[in-house]
């Protein structure tokens, strides 16, 4: 949970390089609440990107969030207005905390569910609090002539950590090899400013292709394998 404090600080420091009002950096941590997303937004704001470019980049970068909600559908049920905040605050870190939370009691027990949701709400709010505090610290530190050169590496470090967490969850090698291969190909054939989006889009297409092949193969296997008389 505390991980958001230094990362928020890194974001705050990075934001001051934009020569915009620091309040806008604070606003970003209040209304966007995304680690990688906000770093990317700073990079795009600095590059003078347009609305469409920023929207597409954010959607693609956060496409992994599309699948986070699926495992929490049941647990967020009937949370009322709190549900909007729980969904808003579903960052990588918050998701991994909530997903690893043991369920208290029976899934039909309304009191246990309420208790569960109150706890999840506290975790989400605390995570945002650390993130916002970190941002403020970073914005303030930048006023103190603190040499922040190189702090942007915090984002790369976050990606490495999240990638290793994915490895622990998946224990399969090919998705990582595919990601590397697509990016290296992208370095060859894509212009620099299209590298990120082009690589993610290419990887999505390849994964769709993999799904189609995988589906056909399992379908063929199930029709051609004779049923065992004992099963």
């Amino acid at each position: 949970m505390f991980g958001y404090l230094p990362l928020g600080a890194a974001f705050g420091v990075l934001f001051t390089q934009l020569s915009l009002s620091p309040w806008l950096g604070l606003l970003m941590s209040l209304v966007i609440l995304a680690g990688a997303g906000q770093f990317l937004a700073v990079a795009l704001l600095g590059a003078g990107a347009g609305v469409t470019e920023l929207a597409v980049a954010t959607l693609l970068l956060n496409s992994r969030h599309l699948f986070y909600g699926l495992s929490l559908l049941e647990r967020f049920r009937d949370a009322g207005i709190a549900k909007v905040y729980l969904i808003f605050g579903l960052t990588d870190e918050t998701y991994s905390l909530l997903a690893s939370l043991p369920r208290s009691g029976d899934r039909d027990d309304i009191h246990a569910r309420r208790e569960d949701q109150r706890l999840m709400l506290r975790i989400t709010a605390l995570n945002q609090l650390w993130w916002v505090l970190g941002t403020l610290m970073g914005l303030a530190a930048a006023q103190l002539n603190f040499d922040s050169n190189g702090i942007e590496f915090a984002l790369t470090a976050l990606f490495v950590v999240l990638g290793i967490e994915q490895w622990y969850a998946l224990r399969e090698r090919w998705p990582f090899v595919l990601g590397l291969a697509v990016t290296f190909t992208g370095l060859w054939i894509l212009p620099n400013d299209q590298l990120l989006l082009g690589s993610i889009a290419g990887a999505c297409l390849l994964l769709l292709g993999h799904y189609a092949v995988h589906k056909r193969r399992t379908a063929m296997a199930s029709t051609h394998t004779p049923r065992s008389p004992h099963s």
Binding site: L33, A41, G150, A157, I200
Partner: protein
């Protein structure tokens, strides 16, 4: 950039971020068992993270590639021999090693960033450039 323009972009980023988080609750709840959704949900995060690592390791020194995009092995050699490229690679390996060892996200990120900041601030002279 004007404050108004920045405000508009921030609101767009906020909406786009919320859109990706709310979609499963709005549209995918009835299809949450569909094999395509399960397949994408299983593999996409790992692939996206790998792309992000690879892109951010190369993107910060991308001007290097403008030297000779036709000759990528030479460009990689330049990247590796530049202070930033080597520092990033070493710091990234430290982050990965530390995380595999202790599995403490805060520790891995803080130490790795510290190493990289020290590297670029102490000003290892670039071999190239």
């Amino acid at each position: 950039m004007t404050t108004t323009h920045a405000l508009i972009l921030i609101i767009v980023a906020a909406l786009a971020t919320f859109a990706t988080r709310v979609t499963p609750f709005l549209f995918l709840s009835r299809h949450s068992a569909h094999p395509l959704i399960l397949h994408m949900g299983r593999y996409l995060p790992a692939i996206v993270m790998t792309v992000l690592v690879a892109v951010s390791l190369s993107a910060m020194t991308l001007p290097v590639f403008e030297v000779s995009t036709d000759d990528l092995p030479t460009a990689w050699q330049h990247w590796l021999m530049s202070a930033k490229g080597a520092g990033m690679l070493i710091s990234a390996i430290c982050v990965a090693g530390l995380h595999l060892w202790r599995r403490n996200a805060l520790l891995s990120i803080a130490v790795g960033t510290g190493i990289y900041m020290a590297w670029v601030q102490i000003g290892t002279p670039a071999v190239v450039g």
